[in-house]
């Protein structure tokens, strides 16, 4: 098979795939094509889409490859889809961040950090499949330990958990100034 043929097939597979496609899976379909070749073809395809400012780009996410629209087109897509953006509340986002960085973690441990009850938020996150119970902690009561899911990685465009933004060291933490009389928005100081 010509390299261009392989690239074309890969692009088709990425188009019909329902989620991120792993190299492993691509290898199963494209028998005889080595992993190194697959990887370099994917890199080529990625560069092509990027350089030609195409309407879909190849992104490495949740352990695989996926075609996604570039951010620059977001408004047009939203206008087309007509939906309201599903905003995640602060409580949900904060709890999710704690779980992402501290997994596996129990409900009680999350509550100790946030200083509030997190039952409702945990249920929301479970419903949205952004977290799941991964095990039980070996302490009295055997509480569930929660961790993030591949859907979490997909939601935040993360290749894997090691690509989470680095958590600040305690010494680096500065409180953002309060902008005027408005609600404290997500404007956090650059460090």
């Amino acid at each position: 098979m010509e390299r261009e043929d392989i690239k074309s097939i890969i692009e088709s597979l990425l188009f019909v795939a329902d989620g991120p496609l792993t190299i492993q899976r691509l290898g199963e379909v494209l028998e005889g094509v080595g992993k190194a070749d697959l990887r370099s073809t994917l890199d080529e395809l990625q560069a092509e889409l990027e350089n030609n400012r195409r309407g879909v780009r190849l992104v490495e996410v949740a352990g695989g490859y996926q075609l996604r629209t570039p951010k620059i087109n977001a408004d047009w897509i939203k206008k087309f889809l007509g939906g309201r953006p599903a905003r995640m509340g602060r409580a949900t986002l904060e709890t999710l961040a704690i779980i992402a960085y501290r997994q596996p973690i129990t409900r009680a441990e999350i509550e100790a950090i946030r200083g509030v009850d997190v039952d409702g938020v945990i249920n929301t996150l479970l419903d949205r499949r952004l977290i799941r119970a991964v095990a039980r902690k070996d302490v009295p009561g055997r509480p569930f330990l929660y961790g993030t899911t591949p859907e979490f990685l997909q939601l935040f465009n993360l290749k894997d958990l090691t690509h989470l933004p680095t958590l600040k060291e305690m010494e680096e933490i500065t409180l953002p100034a309060i902008p005027g009389e408005e609600l404290p928005v997500e404007g956090v100081e650059e460090s």
Binding site: A74, R84, L93, A97, M170, A177, E181, V188
Partner: protein, 257 residues
């Protein structure tokens, strides 16, 4: 001097404290505990005035702050080694918690700045159901149902009529009637369920019939907005309704007035 408190949606006591620290532009590692405690308590008071449900955690933190404040008033003496942490700054633990919490607030903000799926970037046809503008239906709470029931009961003629005639209405009859209604009309308003009903007993029986049908998931009750009218519609395939009824045998079948 009146303290004007800008009320915001605080996620919890730590969030409120961080806000106060920022607002007063004081150092998080050297919190002027008396001032912050005072403002913290003032905020709680406003929340209570507004009848907001001040969660227990807010009160626990209030107690913690007062405890720290009182400990800071005590002179440090050398012989205090038996104190919990041997004369360490009583604010230390609180500062650690605040910093830890801020750390995850920062992390959350960092996550939100990423290219978020269905906000910044999209994939083919996998538009999550939540994003598609579905008609906004809320589940009706039991309390809303009870309030609606009370309105119906209040509308009944006040005159006390002593009916001697024994009128038998069964929950099952009402269930069948209601299902017949839905079969022909699709959905009906909660209030119209009680059209023509004049006795308290019949209102109650009708209400029970409705609850029974909800229990077996034959009907759904919802409202379009918090204060909107409550609507009832068939949930299951109504052709199977007789089967549903057969399965359901309300323990008490006989009601009379």
């Amino acid at each position: 001097m009146t303290t004007r408190v800008q009320l915001e949606i605080f996620e919890g006591p730590l969030d409120l404290l961080l806000h106060l620290i920022k607002k007063n532009e004081v150092s998080i590692t050297d919190i002027p505990i008396a001032m912050i405690t005072e403002q913290y308590l003032a905020t709680l008071e406003v929340m209570q005035t507004l009848n907001l449900d001040v969660a227990g955690e807010f009160l626990v933190m209030a107690a913690t702050l007062i405890h720290i404040k009182s400990r800071m008033l005590l002179p440090l003496t050398d012989g205090d080694e038996d104190e919990e942490d041997g004369g360490a700054d009583p604010r230390e633990e609180l500062v650690r918690r605040l910093l830890e919490y801020q750390r995850f607030k920062d992390a959350a903000a960092e996550l939100e700045r990423r290219e978020v799926l269905t906000r910044d970037v999209f994939v083919r046809s996998v538009a999550p159901a939540e994003d598609i503008p579905a008609p906004e239906f809320r589940d009706v709470s039991v309390f809303e149902l009870l309030t609606a029931l009370k309105r119906v009961l209040d509308r009944l003629p006040k005159d006390v009529v002593h009916e001697v005639m024994l009128e038998k209405i069964t929950v099952r009859e009402k269930m069948t009637l209601l299902l017949d209604h839905l079969r022909t009309q699709g959905s009906i308003l909660f209030e119209s369920l009680f059209a023509g009903v004049t006795t308290r007993m019949e209102v109650v029986v009708t209400f029970l019939a409705m609850l029974e049908l909800v229990k077996v998931r034959a009907i759904r009750i919802f409202q379009e907005e918090a204060t909107g009218s409550i609507q009832i519609e068939a949930a299951a395939d109504l052709e199977n309704a007789p089967a549903v009824l057969a399965m359901q045998d309300p323990e008490e079948d006989q009601h009379g007035t």
